[in-house]
Symmetry: C2
Subunit: 334 residues, 2 copies
């Protein structure tokens, strides 16, 4: 039970989700007494409590968590996925620790070097999935290529798009265009069986002409945080302008239903839940500051990935992609 609010948010989110999905069962992992006290007994077997005595702090180092916190709610929840008792793990805890623990316990899929973090971001057309968002700061071309394969397959599965378009994030200056890894990844992607559309720039994430945007974790994280910063600035300025004097306050009253609807289209809670891709199991990271609605959305994403069998699909796609490449490098082979 991590995140900024722990059981206070997670338990009601779980109960809301159960109300909407009569066929689903959830396991709450954490301090038994608190979880029992907070959850309604009426759910019976649909909302089990699984004890874990430790918690992982938001600032703890992943390596230390891995070594020392073997009975943390995070570790125990991922163990449940590993043993097959649970089909997915949703956590609002420390991202680095979640990543390290998931990688250690669940293991990577064959031929995938690193896990990547992906999330949907609102765009003009609908939404764009961006990865990696911070799991990997120094990426080789091959890593970027693997991210593209995984991201494409995730979107194909959960959005039911037969062949999602994939763009590689780059900058627009001529000649100095792109660093070496990006240029090399561009070559790999151009020869792949993905629906690769070429380079895209930062603004393309929000214009939505491409389904998947691939970049290294440093760049992806900066882009995500930047967009959050702009959104905060816009929201603050709008509020200021409407509260300048009695006349603007009056017009705010008139415009309120519109403004509210406008705000809703950007509501970060509707986009809460990032997937850790490349693992032998489903792990969803909720924002640490998620509220009940936001956390419920993260559970919903986990459910979708279970139903569409995302890890299995990614494993198959990675294997297929390797065959395509092998065939290209030795065209003589029958």
């Amino acid at each position: 039970m991590g995140g900024d609010f722990g059981p206070e948010v997670v338990v009601p989110a779980a109960e809301r989700f159960l109300r909407h999905r009569p066929e689903v069962r959830l396991i709450l992992v954490g301090r038994e007494d608190e979880l029992r006290r907070r959850s309604k007994p009426e759910w019976g077997e649909r909302l089990r409590v699984h004890p874990a005595t430790e918690t992982v702090g938001m600032d703890e180092l992943p390596s230390k968590v891995l070594r020392n916190k073997k009975d943390s709610s995070m570790r125990v929840a991922i163990n449940l996925v590993q043993t097959g008792e649970a089909q997915a793990c949703v956590s609002a805890g420390n991202t680095g620790a979640l990543m390290a623990t998931a990688r250690f316990v669940l293991k990577m899929l064959d031929r995938v070097d690193r896990p990547a973090i992906i999330t949907a971001i609102p765009s003009l057309r609908a939404q764009t999935h961006v990865l990696d968002l911070g799991a990997n700061v120094d990426c080789s071309a091959e890593h970027l290529f693997q991210f593209a394969v995984m991201g494409s397959e995730l979107v194909a599965a959960v959005e039911e798009l037969p062949s999602p378009t994939v763009g590689l994030l780059n900058i627009g200056q001529e000649e100095i265009k792109g660093n070496e890894q990006v240029k090399e990844a561009h070559e790999l992607l151009s020869r792949s069986s993905l629906n690769y559309v070429g380079y895209v720039e930062g603004d393309d994430i929000f214009l939505g002409d491409v389904d998947v945007v691939v970049c290294d974790g440093f760049v992806g994280n900066v882009a995500l945080k930047t967009s959050e910063g702009v959104a905060k600035l816009v929201s603050q300025r709008l509020k200021e302008q409407f509260s300048r004097n009695w006349l603007t306050r009056l017009s705010a009253l008139a415009a309120m239903p519109v403004i509210r609807r406008f705000r809703r289209t950007f509501d970060p809670r509707r986009y809460n839940g990032a997937s850790l891709l490349g693992l032998r199991g489903i792990v969803i990271k909720s924002h640490g500051g998620a509220d009940v609605l936001a956390f419920e959305n993260a559970i919903r994403i986990a459910e979708k990935e279970i139903h569409t069998n995302v890890p299995q699909r990614i494993a198959e796609r990675v294997a297929l992609q390797l065959k395509v490449r092998a065939a290209q490098s030795s065209p003589e082979t029958p």
Copy 2:
């Protein structure tokens, strides 16, 4: 006369500027007949035309421009800065070509390895200056350090801030925090005489708690384009929501003065004009799609940098910084 509109925008922008600044003289560089035809003769010596027969296309490769376009308006304008006939050059042309030409003709300041592009971005408090925005895709720690020194000095000069705060752009994940260059630059900056506040994240650009944000050109360019994308998305969604039906249109009417004022606070024209730092001269890059008001703003930035003698101040600061470092590495020396 580059950019998307050429003299159509540049000439009226120059005339607007002259109207506001009676002590200033401008030189228009480009095709003589067209410039004479478009500009009013009444300006006399205050608006001279300097002929240049060639133009640089927005997609031309910088290396080719440098070799083949020796009578382009861009090259001639920068030559005028080099000979001292002009004190600054403002161009809406091809960024890569402008950078390469400026570097070739004006040369770098002593001990500065690379030019960097810096611009102001609106933030909650006022504005934040960010560099590099795309001149350098692969940066060493030393490059990032030099950007910090140059950016800090520019802001000190033009914003009249005695000691601007400087942040280094990074991502927030623990342990995997930052790539090697960023970590090393952090060490260099921590020991410097700059008002260095440590790591900042993408959203800090817009919260405005720091005056200068330093990053490599790839990351900076993505952050800038990302913020443009979010702004477009927000503007489009707001328009959509207000035009949904007659009721929302009516409320738009009521809210229009507020919305207009809100839009004005983000008007990209108010922020048009990026400085090329590290050169022995002042070169300002206007957005290619700048209109008259926006281009006028770029001229205004050039004027400010002339008055505050930015290249000279940067040269002095770089020299001082090197002394600080030398003193640190050999504390025995008197």
